[in-house]
Amino acid sequence: MSRNVVIVGAGPAGLAAAAAALRAGARVTLLDAAESPGGQYHRMLPEAFAAERPGRLHHGWAAFDRARRHVLGHPRCTWLAETSVWSLERRDPGDARPPRVHLVHGPDGAGRDRSVLDPDALVLATGAHDRVLPFPGWDLPGVFTAGAAQALAKGERLAVGDEVLVAGSGPFLLPVAASLLEAGSRVRGVLEANPAATVLRGWGARPRELASQPGKAAELAGYTALLARHRVPYRTGRAVIAARGDGRVEEAVTARLRADWSVVPGTERAVPVDAVCVTHGFSPQLELPLAAGCALRDGPEDGTAFVDVDDDQRTTAPGVHAAGEITGVAGAPAARAEGLLAGWLAGGGSPDAPELRAVRRRRDQGRAFARRLAAAHPVGDGWKSWLTPRTVVCRCEETTYGALCRAADDPAGGSDRAVRLGTRAGLGPCQARICGPAVAALLGGRVTRTATPHHRPVAQPIRLGELARPPKEGTP
């Protein structure tokens, strides 16, 4: 009997996992909350490259399209679109099966049906979303996460503003600037918070090593050329440390930063803009791994973490593999390599299969790339000094930095859990997905740590009426 593999997330990692599990002979259920497969990456791809690099687009897209057709059309594959895992139910201790997978299907608002799957193996490939640190004014209309700005530019052909600054850290700043240009914005600058020395040292002083990630170097070179053509300055060691305006962004305050991201006094400058796009790396989507009982490993900064996996992409939870950005941030090619390995092994393929050697090599290159990326674009602790007592830290509940400090310094408060419940930071609709790592970093060392910010036993919102109905056993 062939094994039953459930794969959560149909981004680059999940799709590759599905292809490999099918190849290993397994029956596969691939599901994603989105309407179509592709994840963060391919959702953007067709338009993202259209203007500037039609050739590359064609190439990347064609490969993706082939993979997608092969997987979705396979007789042993069940593809469930618009299907969310809202809960993973761990087995009794000693039972080595992976958790039961609880699903809701269909478009939100329509009274979705529930079902529950009992896989022989589970692959988690739930990806990451872009991370934003708080700063004064980041809650003003006109401040966007870079990902949201890009989605608007690409998906809806909507420019977030006429005069825009793109700021934060990481190579992702470049594609965002590119898509804003394409949507007709004037990009006043791209600001990388880390000084050039950090960036160069992180990339191993040999930026050409990027070439170990096929296509990455060419991709970056393409963006750089595009920015040059539009005369968009790319500055290192500078950041947007505040946004100001009456009811919406009217100007951004930029400043030179030291290596630890503290502000060099006297270098603040006000830049008139009507939009700011910020990104500070990616936050992995960790609620399902946590619910499955997977151990995490701490990320480089306070409050960040990734799923801990071994050489075979196995997590510490029995029967559960993890692949893609939940294990480390290294871009789509690395996510695909991890997915192939995870899917093959979850599907019962031999760990000694000769074709795995190349896959493992690519995966290892991806991990090395992730390490370089993290070293080249760290988040400096100095961002905390940008905040004022009135800076909102949790946007859902409008918790200010001052309120957080008061609660943390209350001798009768004392634990991160008590501070969160007392200030409501992270308790709003986004359930700490946006502010969780920042709040954890701000509280780090000040209070007893008793909780992780990634704990969300209800992984996706579910309506009371949906929850009250019993689930169907097996695929819907």
Binding site: S87, E89, R90, H102, G109, V116, E397, D410, P411, A412, G413, G414, S415, D416, R417, A418, L421, G422, R424, L427, G428, P429, Q431, V447, T448, T450, A451, R456, P457, V458, P461, I462, R463, L464, G465, L467, A468, R469, P470, P471
Partner: protein
């Protein structure tokens, strides 16, 4: 007299407050942080409505009065505001005829014991709770029921204790007892030995384990409960509204899943939907089928909430004794050891009364209510009780 309180949940905080304000030298120890365990995983109902005539009702009524006194004394202080005291009143709704008969009898007993009880007719219920089901057999209003935010409430009590000179040590786990001449003179902890004249076991559902480590075991067990939290809503639920089954569930010890609807809104706009009762040891897995049952029960009371999204679920372990009464008093087997525990699903409300009774007994004052029913040397506490 040096008192060491073991546990910085709301019960330990309330005991520390009373003892420190009475002038004793108090130290509170907790292996985690204050108010981070059971106290952060429940709801904040301060109820008289769910308690039939008897010692728990007396403790509840005394506690309710003490909450108001403590908050009046602290009026205007920001920590008092964070208690989120809301005397909103409770409404109990029976949806079946059998439920109505039970509720009617229960309410009559409470009325005789002095609880304010008002029966609501259909227009009265609709006026009080416009969204509640119209399909009901009996509805009873308890104006004395109130609500707090448990963590804010615990921080308020502990803050008062610290202001009165108490000390707090977190990250300190109690491991065992040092005895001399049959008396406990110190506790061994993960951070060295802590000496004292009196030790108060306020370790919530872990009180049984702590007592065991100290050499005087008590039968306090965990009873799992889960709560659902919706996204913030416009004002929808105005009282704490619960179904009449709740009364039965509180008093029962059955093994299998029980759930009864308790629906209330919080200052933040979320609606809390509780709660389940299960005996599963310290198994903290959130079970979808349990959440499903809670949702179903809540919808029987508020059918119009069917479209409201649940964004979070959490759970905790109610500390219970097989006879469902708290344990407050000295342990006759080990002089110097006291217990303040076993409050099951009512420890938030009952904390302040518990602190007062414990302090009275410790200082040789006559407690305002009869503390006999809460004594340690009763069969249920010393493992001789029927587990019903």
């Amino acid at each position: 007299m040096r008192v060491v309180v073991l546990g910085a949940g709301i019960v330990g905080a309330a005991c520390a407050r009373e003892l420190a304000r009475a002038g004793l030298a108090v130290t509170v120890l907790d292996r985690g942080g204050p108010a981070a365990a059971t106290t952060a995983h429940g709801e904040g109902n301060v109820l008289v409505s769910d308690k039939g005539p008897g010692p728990e009702l007396e403790l509840a009524r005394m506690s309710r009065r003490l909450w108001e006194e403590a908050l009046a004394e602290a009026a205007g202080r920001s920590d008092a505001d964070r208690v989120e005291w809301d005397p909103k009143g409770g409404i109990v709704v029976a949806t079946t005829d059998a439920g109505a008969r039970g509720l009617e009898e229960f309410a009559a007993g409470q009325r005789a014991a002095g609880v304010t009880v008002e029966t609501l007719d259909a227009p009265g219920l609709a006026a009080a709770e416009p969204q509640v089901t119209r399909d009901f057999a009996l509805a009873v209003h308890y104006p004395e029921d109130a609500q707090v935010q448990p963590v804010g409430a615990a921080a308020f009590l502990l803050g008062d204790a610290l202001r009165a000179g108490a000390g707090l040590r977190t990250g300190v786990e109690v491991l065992g007892a040092v005895t001399r001449g049959g008396r406990i003179t110190a506790v061994r902890t993960s951070a060295g030995t802590v000496e004292g004249d009196v030790f108060v076991n306020a370790a919530g559902p872990w009180s049984g384990a702590v007592a065991e480590r100290l050499g005087a075991p008590v039968d306090v067990r965990p009873r799992r409960g889960e709560v659902l939290v919706t996204t913030p809503q416009p004002p929808t639920v105005f009282h704490k509204v619960y179904d009449a089954d709740y009364v039965g569930a509180v008093g029962s010890g059955a093994e299998e899943l029980q759930a009864s609807a308790v629906v209330e809104s919080t200052r933040a706009g979320t609606i809390l939907l509780g709660s389940s009762r299960r005996r599963v040891g310290f198994d903290d897995r959130i079970r979808p089928e349990v959440l499903s049952v809670i949702a179903g029960k809540a919808l029987r009371l508020f059918p119009r909430l069917a479209g409201v999204p649940v964004m979070r679920a959490y759970g905790g372990f109610r500390p219970y004794v097989p006879d469902h009464l708290p344990v407050i008093g000295p342990d006759p087997r080990l002089p110097g050891l006291w217990h303040a525990t076993g409050h099951e699903g009512a420890g938030i409300g009952l904390s302040v009364g518990t602190g007062r009774v414990l302090a009275d007994l410790l200082l040789g004052r006559e407690p305002e209510i009869d503390a006999g029913p809460f004594r340690v040397d009763r069969p249920a506490v010393l493992f001789e009780g029927d587990d019903q």
